[in-house]
């Protein structure tokens, strides 16, 4: 038989029992949709996960805050005050898988350039750890080093909106460090009565090249040791009571930030720190339940898909066997008329494969519809799985993403299931004897 004849005959045979064929196809459709959505949701989760890593910085960072929230022994939430000092940093450095530890402080500063000014956050960290925390590339200048630590690193947005406001006019300006001199001061204490005001004129500077991590935008970065020098100078300009407080503040850190060598070890390191008696936070700890849930969700879909495909396979086999019973005489006639056994086998495998193929194609089509509906209206359900705490799901976020290869793979699976389940019935069909054609009863 020619392939074209085989196809024509197979389709004709399926067409003869439209209702039965359709019902058999439905099974395959359900299986295909389950498998498709499983992969699509998995892809969606991975996509969102990666996007959030990009936006929120590395997933390998653990933070210890002076003021921490946590459950106490009675299961109630309460605030804890933790002492973060150099001693703790030394301890943390000893923990396995810890790549870098740095104190972190954040101070509001006012930057001045001529008549223009702006307020911004200064982030203070140990400059030796900048590289380990994955600081991005610079547009110009170099990062500070322990030997040369006086560089002020400007975020990629930090110089953009200096303003001038005298009550009548409001002007903004983008400062060019090559031409404009910039100085800054801290604003932690009241300095209206102070004789000599503290101002630091920026000498060494660098600017971070534009990137998509917001934390390097509206910030300035400075080394911790250099900050201590600057702040001591600032404290010396203050009233005695304020000076004492200011100097004390240098002995404690707001936050300690730890970088772990691998995402997989974050939980382990966090546990080690908690054993030291400190409460920690990491993005990972919010991501982990999300990953677990998504994993479970994917497994559920996989299970549904597998069960649906098994049922579909049984269904196809059943349909084929029924079809063979009905067509016993026909098969006998075909044999008498000189049809090769191989062709009979091919015919039945083709019919089973077509059931799989149609089911696969319809399933793929419906999966696109289902994915669209989930993306459009399933946000409440799926969105909670895909955002880490603090982050918000974008409107129109993709919860289900169907990669270009998925429909092809799904149809291929559906066809394979069809052909595999058609195999035994097809073999059975070949065993039907030509004598069936010679029988006259029935």
């Amino acid at each position: 038989m020619r392939i074209s004849d085989l196809i024509k005959m197979g389709l004709r045979n399926l067409g003869r029992r439209k209702a039965r064929t359709a019902l058999t196809v439905v099974g395959v459709v359900i299986g295909t949709i389950s498998i498709m959505l499983m992969v699509a949701i998995g892809q969606g989760i991975n996509y969102n996960f990666e996007k959030q890593i990009m936006e929120n910085g590395s997933m390998t960072i653990i933070r210890i805050y002076t003021y921490a929230w946590g459950e106490n022994e009675n299961g109630e939430y309460q605030e804890y005050q933790q002492v973060l000092n150099e001693e703790l940093i030394a301890q943390l450095r000893e923990i396995k898988h810890v790549k870098a530890v740095s104190p972190v402080m954040e101070k509001y500063i006012e930057l001045y350039s001529g008549k223009y000014m702006t307020g911004i956050s200064l982030k203070i960290m140990d400059c030796a750890t900048f590289a380990d925390f994955g600081f991005p590339a610079l547009e110009y200048g170099t990062y500070p080093t322990p030997e040369q630590n006086e560089t002020i690193v400007f975020g990629y947005e930090a110089l953009n909106e200096f303003y001038y406001n005298n009550g009548r006019t409001y002007q903004t300006k983008t400062v060019d460090l090559a031409k404009d001199r910039v100085n800054f001061t801290f604003r932690d204490y009241d300095t209206t009565d102070v004789k000599k005001q503290f101002r630091y004129v920026v000498k060494d500077y660098a600017k971070i090249a534009a990137c998509d991590q917001w934390e390097y935008g509206w910030y300035c970065y400075v080394d911790y040791e250099f900050y201590k020098e600057l702040y001591t100078r600032y404290a010396n300009t203050l009233k005695p009571a304020d000076k004492k407080k200011a100097m004390e503040s240098l002995e404690r850190y707001d936050t300690i930030q730890i970088n772990v060598d691998n995402m997989k070890h974050v939980t382990e390191v966090q546990e080690a720190i908690e054993e030291l008696g400190y409460r920690t936070e990491s993005d990972m700890q919010y991501i982990q339940p999300m990953l677990d849930t998504s994993d479970m969700l994917q497994k559920v879909f996989l299970a549904i898909g597998a069960v649906a495909f098994v049922v579909a396979a049984i269904n196809i086999a059943n349909t084929m066997i029924m079809s063979i019973y009905e067509r016993t005489k026909e098969i006998g006639i075909m044999k008498v008329l000189g049809c090769y056994i191989k062709d009979i086998k091919k015919l039945f495998l083709f019919e089973a494969g077509i059931i799989g193929c149609i089911g696969g194609m319809v399933g793929v089509g419906l999966s696109y519809v289902a994915a669209y509906l989930l993306n459009e209206y399933g946000g409440a359900f799926l969105g909670s799985l895909m955002t880490i705490a603090g982050g918000e799901a974008d409107t129109g976020a993709a919860y289900c993403i169907i990669p270009f290869w998925l429909p092809f793979a799904a149809i291929l699976v559906a066809i394979s299931v069809g052909i595999l389940s058609g195999y035994l019935p097809a073999r059975r069909a070949t065993k039907i004897s030509a004598i069936e054609a010679m029988k006259n009863e029935g």
Binding site: G338, I435, M438, N440
Partner: protein, 274 residues
Amino acid sequence: MEETEPKDTNTKEEAPIIEIKNVKKIYRMGNERIPAVDDVSFAIKKGEFCCLLGTSGSGKSTLLNLMAGIEKASGGQILIKGKNIRKMNEKQLAKFRQKYLGFVFQSYNLLNSMTALENVEFPLVFKRIPARRRKRMAREMLVKVGLGSRMNHRPKQMSGGQQQRVGIARAFVAKPEIVFADEPTGNLDTRTTMEVMDLIKQVAKDNAQTIVMVTHDPRLAKFADKIIHILDGKIQSIETISHTMTEDTEEETTEKSEAEREENEEDEKENEKE
């Protein structure tokens, strides 16, 4: 058993197209052994119309099925065109049937989902003949059996006689050298029976095809060149009908076929218009 014709005359001309030697077929039903065909030997010449005549249950169908390779013989030798079909495997048998054999069945065995034309095309499909040529051959054949105007009818829309004509067209479409027919008129009334018999005889004559027909009806024996009487699985006698007796029927059929041909040509024209 006795042969009315001396054996040497036909062996001189040509080897027999079908040669059967000591063929046996024994069915087992539990412990019972049913010898459906019991040590049968005979030969059929090319172009001969051979009739296996016997009462119901005498083993005619079994014998025919053995010759066609549909049943496996329990013993003996079956040579068709000099080839021992007992030694063929399924694939070789299928190929052999495609090439040399045609079949006419008692219950027509047309596929109800197909039109008359598609049914006639069917054996050509297995021979991998391209669709266009196949259609042309089938159409010609249907015209020949007088169904030029029924090509696109389905079996259910035709009378028994018409269905058997389609069956005959299907059997002869590939121009097989041998056509087997098991009670081809068993489901037809007397008038239609005679028409169908005439048709088979005429179509076979056109291409000098060999016919092996099974029947229990002695009235049909007159169409045959050779009658093999069978009883209880054994040959009782072989009767060869002399040429002179068949001559007038031959004229009759040619006359008739000419009339039919005219009819058919009209049908064909109609078809072409469609």
